[in-house]
Symmetry: C2
Subunit: 702 residues, 2 copies
């Protein structure tokens, strides 16, 4: 296969094709020989294109598409099935609108595979599911699958700016070419849509939550509608971030007060205009009164007033509002971890039906590890949506191999006890049947050839989509199926490499923020350690606010003797985390301030354990490197080298984190480094002196 | 071939592979079966990789590399040839250090192809030449070629900023991933080097001439050295832009005065440090006292003082200085077109031997058409280097198909008459044998999958390299060989499409700035027309300064009755352009201010001719669209569609230019539009109202 000849230029397709490699199969399979598919609508055309590509690449033949009798694969809506196929219809009828069934049936005496669903999108999802199964086992002929998404809104949030930069982006620049839209449809847009649809992602917010009102002007709406048209066959709806002050900036009004009739009218008109451009527009994603963004509070109103105003404008068109709960105030001196809960929980039940409150997984900000956000379960009369970060703002950018589904899973599995034992975060965001529900992920996608900057960061995009479809999936299964589709089906390879993927998230926690430490990254760009920073305008911007290290000890006391943030959790959780006997080591310094010589379960003191954890993180990266070396025989040389080079960066930076943090904390502990820990190469002044003025992803200039 | 199956993801290699497609050949050729090549040095390894790729893709077999007797291809330095091959040695010995010879010889009774040169780089150039010949004629077996570059320095200038943006970049963001360097070597760097070496480009200035001194700090030099290492096998040297005030910004000095001993010493030390990182460092590219950049004049010194200071620091290491002559002063009220000449010509003979004065092709700034720069030929005792712009700052960004080698050729062929008839610009920059000479092109390369934003913009990168190798090449030959390698060898296709390429540059002149108009683009981003702009701080920043339209007429009088810029040219040229009877229409309004009813050669008045030219430009784009439609059968659907979409943008914008400019100029001419011209759709206020705050490529924020 010339495609596989090892030249960088041929190679790039491997990086670019993500988990849709459709690698040449060593076994034959006739399943695509004759496909019965009605290609009248554009989604079915997308199904046809995908099957053609997959068949040619995997099995070296082009399918014929016809409705003749002897089909090897039938792809039909329930409504198009013959009565004899009632049993499948019944099975399938139990599924929701986006669900599908795949069954191997008897058709005119021949075994035939049937994909069926209520509508075309379900058929597309079923097709991608079939292709996943075949990428993992190309010989597979017998199917009996019924599946449906557990969440309604499964979306990516792009923090892309109109100038082409990406806030917190580490994979190059934005993939949206605003300059050439609407006339130029980059083929990347189609491949982006294919990748999303293949894991069930059905929504995209195109630009930064730190938004620019220009996106709501006709000049840009025309461009947005071209993107929406490109995504439509793949069942992906476009959402826009709505800058709260837009009525002033582009509407010429004097105010953006949500209770002002002119303002309400302006939004009604704007929404009507948007739907003229984009008939299936998804709705607005809003960051209001957060980190300097305008919002209803500028006019003495509250989040309910703001969200409901937009919700009412969208209701006639069945659009929705995603209102972010990521707020903390410059005037509120209480523990930042408590503020979102304090502000939003009183509003429970007051939001319109088409409002989803978008809550980050933790109460601070996308840290390597945080306890689940106390808002989950605390607003039973409201619809809460999960916001994860796929891009690695606080997790080593795109240079560190960190498999995030492990983090996502940890949060989803957490039991809030809010409606009694078993009321996990997953159950809470799944909400009530047929009601609005959702999960958002801040995209890690950019102009890099491999989309995400790190080949393994593709797994975080993939894994987010899989968990948005089914929040109860295991991260282990996700890692394995991603490896099988992306790199190799070899069981040896999958076993070894999935192991380092699953361990990678714990490693980054250990070498950055072990034992419950958090938010000690360098300022603004968050690249590397900055635990010493104490001179920023707002107290809660400073790392020292979070670790509170002094000669007496380290950690943030969030028990009753401290900020009592624990009181926002259910009594079971408050008790469990609050009691030093039961509090897991992972959250120790998140909830407790402890003396340096505090004796821990292993009999060693806190200070020694801190150094040991940092060292363990470094050692685990070393282990990743040797394990990756052993994977060489199984995959292409280029992607292997790509990852190998990135792992050397990860090791350098893991050591940097260990040395910088331990050297700094030693100024308080005044204790020698534990013998298990390798001694830092430089003194504290060196680590403090490092400057990275052009580290990527900082906030836009405007 | 699955590689060719029409899926976007497989397709991307076509866009990415540039003119190194190595398309599967329908005819066999054994030339690569057994290759005698000494692979001891890294350049020879690059030769080996390239031949392996080409052979596998074109002829479906992997070459064997050995030194056994029956070689089908011998690649050896002169010094390694057997005495029996003396005749070739003699022929080859006449070549310069970078030259090569390719001969089909008798070797042990068998016809064998021999590539020979003085050194490995010559062998690499010979190999790429052989591959070009074979891409154009895969059956070719008989070669008798000897070739050598006519210029010593053949370089790309990247105006890339350290934050990843690209000034005047229209193909995405910078391809330099500073964040991941030095440890991560993107495979793009290798493919970039391959493409450059294949056309003989041997130098790269990595960052913007509006420079940042940080690039000269160890933190960045370590990254630069990693790039230099990646480029080294391909004979590409790295150059850096040197910010004149660096001794203050990163050196802690109080001054950057070039006659200050501390400053000279600082540069000496800095250069020594650079060569420790990069033993084959090329030298400095400097923009000084130009558009606000610091320079020697800040200290009452002149360009000679500044350039020679850096030159002395580089001399011990055989590095060179590329000192830009693009200067115009805010205090000098004389015609901007005269200022560079006035300032630099008096310095003729005063620059150190290792200084090249880098002169833009025209006296204003990379316009669709300018007369050649009067400095060419005016400084016989200095070394002048050509600076072209490959990126289309004033030529439609990357949305317009404009084949620039036609522009480059026009300038190179221009006769300066400075040393008598036949002293063309080409001869002047070629300089004296064995003396320093060069050509620089401002790169059009970015993170886009196709590198240049427009598939046909790849031809401008290619064509620049070919002309830097041989300034006397014809643009027609370049267009044809590029099409044959990039798209299809079909003679029908090549004939039709090369025709629109060769005409494209004249078309953009017609629909933007016909009859010698210039610099009437919108402010700052230069996207679209802005002839009405008259409110910018400096007079020469305003389009009205250049077209001087009033009720009496239009055009810039640069004859003796006006600015007399013509006096900077040789008498023959001054006479030719100065006399309305001989002045070509292309330069009419560049040199003359004429009444609206001025009768032109075709008997029509100036105003009518203006409208007719604008309309011709539009009509020629329409013709490009229909011609491109006819090319559909010959090439892959994806690249065809990509170009077709871009042509629709080009047509929209050509019409926009015609309508905006004619509507504006009509306010002075007060004459009806000529009947040949399609009437504008909007009024002047509409065209003036258009705003593009995020048009790409504007100057960096810092």
């Amino acid at each position: 296969m010339l495609c596989n000849s090892f030249t960088a230029s041929a190679q790039i397709t491997k990086d670019y094709d993500l988990w849709l490699q459709y690698q040449k199969s060593s076994v034959a399979n006739d399943i695509f020989k004759n496909i019965a598919l009605n290609t009248k609508d554009e989604t079915n055309k997308a199904i046809q294109d995908e099957l053609k590509t997959a068949s040619e690449r995997m099995f070296q033949y082009s399918p014929t598409f016809s409705n003749s009798g002897n089909a090897t694969l039938i792809i039909k809506k329930f409504s198009e099935l013959e009565p004899t196929q009632k049993n499948i219809i019944n099975k399938a009828n139990a599924l929701n609108d986006e669900g599908f069934a795949i069954e191997t049936i008897q058709n005119k005496g021949k075994k035939t595979v049937l994909i069926t669903a209520k509508n075309s999108l379900g058929l597309l999802y079923g097709t991608f599911r079939l292709l996943r199964e075949l990428q993992i086992d190309p010989s597979k002929k017998h199917f009996s699958i019924a599946d449906e998404p557990k969440l309604k809104v499964r979306m990516l949030n792009h923090w892309d700016n109109l100038d082409g930069t990406v806030e917190r982006g580490y994979a190059g620049s934005s993939i949206w070419n605003w300059q050439k839209l609407p006339d130029f449809i980059d083929k990347k847009y189609i491949d982006y849509a294919r990748a999303n649809a293949s894991v069930g992602i059905n929504g995209v917010a195109l630009i930064n939550v730190n938004s620019n009102a220009l996106i709501l002007t006709p000049q840009y709406l025309e461009k947005v509608s071209a993107l929406a048209k490109a995504f439509r066959p793949y069942g992906i709806k476009v959402y826009l971030t709505a800058r709260f002050s837009a009525p002033i900036e582009i509407g010429g009004l004097k105010t953006a007060d949500p209770l002002n009739q002119e303002v309400q009218q302006w939004w009604n008109n704007k929404v009507n205009e948007i739907y003229k451009f984009i008939p299936d527009f998804g709705g607005f994603l809003v960051k209001a009164n957060s980190e300097g963004q305008p919002g209803p509070q500028n006019y003495g109103r509250n989040h309910v007033d703001g969200a409901n105003m937009m919700a009412k404008a969208l209701q006639p068109h069945h659009g929705i509002v995603l209102w972010r709960a990521f707020v903390y105030s410059e005037t509120d001196s209480s523990d930042r971890a408590k503020q979102a809960y304090s502000e939003f929980v009183p509003y429970d039940g007051k939001f319109e039906d088409n409002v989803l409150v978008q809550v980050k997984n933790g109460a601070i900000d996308f840290q390597p590890r945080e306890p689940f956000h106390p808002m989950f379960g605390a607003m039973p009369k409201s619809k809460l949506m999960m916001e994860y970060q796929i891009t690695q703002e606080y997790l080593g950018f795109s240079s560190h191999l960190v498999f995030l589904p492990k983090l996502y899973e940890e949060v989803l599995e957490s039991d809030t006890y809010k409606q009694g034992k078993g009321s996990t975060v997953a159950k809470i965001i799944e909400g009530k049947p047929n009601e609005l529900s959702g999960m958002a992920g801040v995209a890690n996608i950019g102009s890099d050839l491999n989309w995400t900057g790190h080949p393994f960061a593709q797994a975080n995009w993939y894994g987010f989509g899989r968990l948005a479809w089914n929040p109860e999936l295991s991260s282990e299964k996700i890692a394995e199926e991603w490896l099988q589709q992306t790199f190799s089906k070899d069981s040896n390879f999958v076993k070894t490499i999935s192991k380092i993927m699953l361990q990678s998230r714990e490693s980054v926690v250990k070498y950055m923020t072990p034992l419950g430490l958090h938010h000690i990254m360098a300022t603004n760009h968050h690249y590397g350690p900055g635990p010493w920073v104490n001179d920023l305008a707002r107290p809660e911007w400073n790392p020292v606010y979070y670790h509170k290290a002094d000669k007496n000890g380290i950690g943030f006391d969030r028990t009753a003797t401290g900020s009592n943030a624990l009181a926002q959790y259910s009594p079971e959780i408050a008790q469990y985390y609050g009691d030093l006997k039961t509090c897991p080591e992972e959250y120790l310094l998140w909830f407790h301030h402890l003396p340096w010589d505090y004796k821990m379960k292993n009999g060693k003191i806190l200070w020694d354990n801190l150094g040991i954890k940092y060292q363990e993180g470094v050692n685990e990266v070393k282990n990743m490197i040797t394990t990756w070396e052993s994977a060489k025989p199984y995959i292409d040389a280029e992607r292997h080298q790509e990852v190998a080079q990135l792992l050397t960066i990860q090791l350098k930076e893991a050591i940097w984190w260990k040395d910088a943090c331990m050297t700094y904390f030693q100024t308080f502990s005044n204790l020698p480094f534990p013998k298990e820990m390798e001694t830092p190469k430089h003194d504290l002044e060196y680590y403090k002196s490092l400057q990275f003025p052009f580290a990527p992803g900082i906030k836009p200039h405007w």
